[in-house]
Subunit: 456 residues, 2 copies
Amino acid sequence: MAQKPSIPKGTRDFSPEEVARRQYIFGIIRKNFELYGYMPIETPSFENSETLMGKYGEEGDRLIFKILNSGDYLSKANEEYLTAKDSLRLTASISEKALRYDLTVPFARYVVQHQNDIVFPFKRYQIQPVWRADRPQNGRFREFYQCDADVVGSKSLWQEVELVQLYDAVFSELGLEGVTIKINNRKILSGIAEVIGAKDKLIDFTVALDKLDKIGEDGVKKEMLEKGISASAIEKVQPLFHFSGTVNEKLAKLSQMLSASEEGRKGIEELGFICQNITQLGLAKCTLDLDVTLARGLNYYTGAILEVAAPESVKMGSIGGGGRYDDLTGIFGLKDVSGVGISFGLDRIYLVLEQLDLFPEAVASSTTAIFFNFGESEAQYAMKAIQQLRTAGIKTELFPENVKMDKQFKYADRRNIPFAVMAGTSEIEQGKYQLKNLKSGQQELLDLENLKKALS
Amino acid sequence: MAQKPSIPKGTRDFSPEEVARRQYIFGIIRKNFELYGYMPIETPSFENSETLMGKYGEEGDRLIFKILNSGDYLSKANEEYLTAKDSLRLTASISEKALRYDLTVPFARYVVQHQNDIVFPFKRYQIQPVWRADRPQNGRFREFYQCDADVVGSKSLWQEVELVQLYDAVFSELGLEGVTIKINNRKILSGIAEVIGAKDKLIDFTVALDKLDKIGEDGVKKEMLEKGISASAIEKVQPLFHFSGTVNEKLAKLSQMLSASEEGRKGIEELGFICQNITQLGLAKCTLDLDVTLARGLNYYTGAILEVAAPESVKMGSIGGGGRYDDLTGIFGLKDVSGVGISFGLDRIYLVLEQLDLFPEAVASSTTAIFFNFGESEAQYAMKAIQQLRTAGIKTELFPENVKMDKQFKYADRRNIPFAVMAGTSEIEQGKYQLKNLKSGQQELLDLENLKKALS
């Protein structure tokens, strides 16, 4: 009968301390989203399969969790695929719903479905879990939260400026030093491919270039050659392999390199606007850097591309990313809605804060004071005080059983509760309470008003 | 290509205003849970099927959403059931995971799995969605949130006292008048069944009694007779059909009626302790009432049974419920862990607050001030102020495009933004800002410091 309980691989239980720390991060993200005018929406955990399927490529389709139809699902199963035991093809006939894979496609669906109620430009944020049947590994889970802010219906580059500021606001409030916000632009990558005569090989070119910090200059060049990009073309982009300097210096170098490409010039102009305004306005703790190798799902982005790198000391890689896309809602029939958005990687941010010991101590604090239990009438006396302390916003508990003191002390200790309150016959007679600081051992006899003050 | 987008039946999209209102309710529930010493945990959205199946009865099993195994799931499908097209039996061989159906079973699983890390008594709360393949209908959804607080590992009746107080604290803070917290005790129902000689018919008896306010005295008696409860037995419980008076009067009547039943007397003692202490401590806005017909999943509860009735004016029925159970974790092999818990019905509470117009206006407020856009250099001037206002915690936006004023006004109006800030050439020269109250039409010329003050 009794089972040894466990949870599915790639999923997690969160303890009170972990929930509190996650809520701390969510809280700062949410607060800043709202300060920047983004408004929350929520969408269902599962969508109709046709909403999700075909939106993430073949690999994505495979990683979407499908929900089995309820009831006698086999009665509607496709006979041919059932007989052939063709799992892949059978699925559509026995599963109509699937768990969301990201927040972007449901957002696009939401915008199209509610387009008549939405005021554009529509700035929305969404903090909800997503599910992927990925192979679980270090830091990769089958259920995890995404925190996205997007604005659709505006082509203004001020949106990009604000999103850079928003990243800076969140990471600064989290106390993170040394975060780099990397920026690039799809049009610059297109321009480069154009001037080297490899316009038809844009994807191959950028995929290779994106690997620069992993496989080095020689590796990238080798891959480009293999993909059919000529040696002379590669020669033309030689400066990219040692692309250093300030953002302005980099923009100047790109201007030279891309003077012949209209698209390239447009990309430089866009990047210039964003970088110049960010410089003017200043960032609190983050650094903005132009990273010409940054590509991130190039098929998707049409303008700015953003990625946030954790402080170098923690070896965590990207803790956020985003960019501009010009036709998010087209898949659902609403054309020409330009959008730009960013995402925060909650799990990695958590690990970074943990590694750097940046969670404030108060975050994980539970109850402030526990009243020890000396019996029924003492508990009644305690409960009257507890009621008033709670009304005053002080987290308070009564130890529920009248057991030996050492057991009650041990409980307070294991729960990390900083104060104990004791009131036996003599305190009750005086209308007072013994307040004990469980760390220092200090003890004070106080009336209710002063007890309230001491615990506030 | 383009699909008309929709969402699965029984699920919902939540607009920014709805999310804000839901967060308002969650916030008050969460705050009070923590004031009472409950700590948050979270469990995965899906569990291993064997964790959930068989825990909610046959009907429950049917309503659990099953997740299709990834990859070539048919390769492991049971041949016999596949050939027989036996959907029900096949499921276990093609689905290993299922969406959680409630928060109680995952909590029990959590307690057993983490028993060595948990300090008992363990007071946990959990606010997460659950999924049920129920027929969607008015106010019943396939995805909905549960908000549960439970304490396990303590038999102290102070827990029940506190849970009544907790209900009162939450509903009072939500501004709800006229809420009734109904209380009963399984032992009293057992005692009644015992003294009327229908101990073996406890379930039939209570199921019938529970219908009193729906089918009336005659209906209940008829059902009891049909279930084989004798007329003379029914005669003995005649007082229950018109059971009125104060809690103390009701307890006195029950004491008489149940004097011959040890279990009944125990139930009265327990109820007496809870009611007496609640009377002593007082409730802010709710009323505690003893409802001897209250049964709520009797198989589950072993002591106190609680249910919260919405104010009579709104015809909503139960907006919360709970009770004590003595062997929650037994199904996972951990015996003798007594627990007691309560749950808040978020969706119904939302409807009640909406109907009574009790959501504070501020809850749904979005951005406080929007800066109109008069062109690039004006926008740069605006952005410097916006940055400072946001740092001061004021929700501020820049209208992203330099378009005609009426379009910007219309946007502010539709977004319900109360203030607009305008700064053109002349304001910039003076280093000032025009602040316009969009409701009154009043306008003021202010420097940044005073703008900040005016918007705080």
